[in-house]
Assembly symmetry: C2
Homo-oligomer: 384 residues x 2
């Protein structure tokens, strides 16, 4: 798949640890970061007989553990899966940001590696946009997700989402309709079809996009794995768009991860009477998310360069020649040092107070005069 | 109506100026603030013959000018209108904030006075909430405005709005349904019925609430007067809620005024596919407005005391006695000064690395150990 490759021993240690530990376990990530995957794998194997590690051993044995990692890798390859690890050219380095984000619900840290099925290389996802939301989406939410994903994908930014019904599905369909790239990150093994009704969608993504998972092949979808999975979605993408999420929706967890990673979090508003929009509105109200209403607004938020509108500096016009004769007449009646009231300037100029008031405002706008408690006087630089 | 009253000469000068000038003219407000209404009125009368004031004279004569202010006041009283001016006990002093807000579309400054028809005293509107929005509201927008106004009015905060179809109407109906107070500020004279279809609503408000206008009795509704009127709505209320406003809606002008007055601006989101919500979404995106989805959220924003959630300080537990024997075993293996890696602590403690990693996180949470580049060491204050 790629020219540069991680050393095989490292890859096998990571496959072995992925067998024996739960995806997203921040302890694993922390020790791997500190001591390396091979040291931890050796330690786990060595400690299996130790009575103090009974629980971990039991955890590990309740899995499909004990298989030779090389066999697992070979079997996965037959099923069209590759295991991408740090050091691979394809490795999406943005995932390393997870090393610095605090854990959330006891999940955290960069993954040991990612199982991938599909032609899209993970290192092309740096500018991608996550579009996530409720499984029980309204038709409004589905339309909104599809419209936004279509515009974003057409502009060349891949879409990242899960594979659930509702917003996830609408986002992939929108991206495909827009002729762009879209990838799904699963909580179960990347070889599994879940939900069953999305067989066609997942097969399509495996042919033209990518189906990605931190969970080992064959692994079942479990609640804890959805929480782990959400951090991968947030960390792969340059920004996360939340479209419909009820107050306790799991999609809010993805948005939280994006926030922890200091990535832009965006929320699509909806009717205040719609329960599936309430979680989004809470996030917007708290200031944790930016309101977006279109794909182009999403692109503005995640575009690396940003759109800086340079305000044109407004030069002060100071030439008397540009003034009307009436304004010159008023200007001539304004004292240099001590301020004067509109009334006294009006008498000096021989003009009506309202005429003078309006001329003074124009003159102030042009930088000719200033106003303070003492009244109107010539501006400091207006003597020329 | 009130015990304290403005001197009659001042009231008459203000009635006279209100005859001869356009509501919301910031020049008038500025000169009145500086020199007083009586001086300006005398100046305008004196300058009528002056050729330099021809335009103002023509402006003034094209109005119903030249009437004796005392006659106008008497006629208005017969029609049930009073003219409330600064110095009256009923004067809503929050309008004085307009003196410090920059002009917008050449309108600005506090009004010379307000014509009022109805029993509600203007000085009871200090904690009121403006609910404004599009004339061409959707049923969603009308429902949202009505729900919010009902909750806010029931809580004792009067509602301020215009008298247009759409959001204005829904806000008044919601407030009345909620058993609360509601007042309408008109762009035409407070004695006029505009729009004609709101005759019943306006008569109802004149009986039980208040119909308010800066425009003299009989004055026609004109575009410029809507702009002037909007600043009065924003300045009377403690905060302004915008419910549905297309991108160039006049209701955005009211929201702008509220912002200029440093009053809270709130926006009610809607479907991103709905044109009447686009102006609101723009305002929310720009940060100029706070997203609100209910009357209670509006009350939270405008309530003078505010709702400060005091975060409970989380005490650090430092006693070794509270630790499990395994955590104590790990703590004993952590060096005091120089940091150590998880691997070396695990070897010292005779425990598995993952067990130690998890114990170290618990100990860090309890304030027993710290982590830096050198690794884990005892926390500075953990020696007891």
């Amino acid at each position: 798949m790629s020219a540069a490759l991680a050393p095989e021993a490292e890859r096998l240690a990571r496959v072995g640890l992925a067998q024996l530990t739960e995806p997203g376990d921040p302890r694993v990530a922390a020790v791997v970061a500190e001591a390396g995957a091979q040291v931890l794998y050796a330690d786990v194997l060595r400690q299996r007989a130790d009575r103090t590690t009974r629980q971990i051993r039991e955890d590990a044995e309740s899995r499909l553990g004990g298989r030779d990692p090389a066999d697992e890798l070979a079997d996965a390859a037959k099923a069209g899966l590759r295991f991408v690890v740090p050091g691979d050219e394809e490795w999406p380095s943005q995932l390393e940001d997870l090393a610095h984000a605090p854990a959330l619900q006891q999940r955290g840290g960069p993954p040991l590696g990612l199982w991938v099925r599909g032609p899209v290389r993970l290192d092309t996802l740096a500018g991608s946009v996550a579009v996530v939301g409720s499984r029980s989406a309204t038709s409004y939410g589905g339309d909104a997700a599809g419209l936004i994903a279509a515009v974003v994908a057409r502009a060349g930014c891949p879409i990242v989402s899960g594979a659930a019904y509702g917003i996830d599905q609408a986002a992939h369909r929108g991206a495909l309709g827009g002729g762009g790239t879209t990838v799904a990150v699963l909580a179960c093994g990347a070889d599994r079809i879940y939900p069953e009704g999305h067989r066609d969608l997942l097969e399509h993504l495996a042919r033209e996009g990518a189906v990605i998972s931190e969970t080992r092949p064959g692994g079942a979808p479990m609640r804890i794995r959805f929480l782990s999975r959400n951090r991968i979605i947030a960390a792969l993408a340059a920004g996360t768009v939340l479209v419909e999420a009820a107050v306790r929706s799991g999609a809010l967890n993805t948005a939280n991860w994006a926030g922890r990673l200091n990535r832009p979090v965006m929320g699509v508003p909806g009717p205040i009477t719609s329960a599936p929009s309430q979680g989004v509105h809470q996030l917007l109200r708290s200031g944790a998310a930016t309101l977006v209403t279109s794909g182009s607004e999403v692109l503005d938020v995640v575009s690396p360069a940003g759109e800086h509108v340079v305000e044109e500096p407004r030069g002060r016009e100071r030439s008397r020649d540009r003034l009307s004769s009436q304004d010159r007449q008023v200007l001539d009646a304004v004292p240099v040092r001590h301020g004067a009231g509109t009334h006294s300037i009006a008498r000096a100029a021989g003009l009506a107070m309202l005429t003078v008031a309006s001329a003074l405002e124009r003159l102030r706008g042009g930088g000719y005069v200033e106003k303070d408690e003492g009244g109107w006087r010539l501006a400091a630089l207006a003597h020329d």
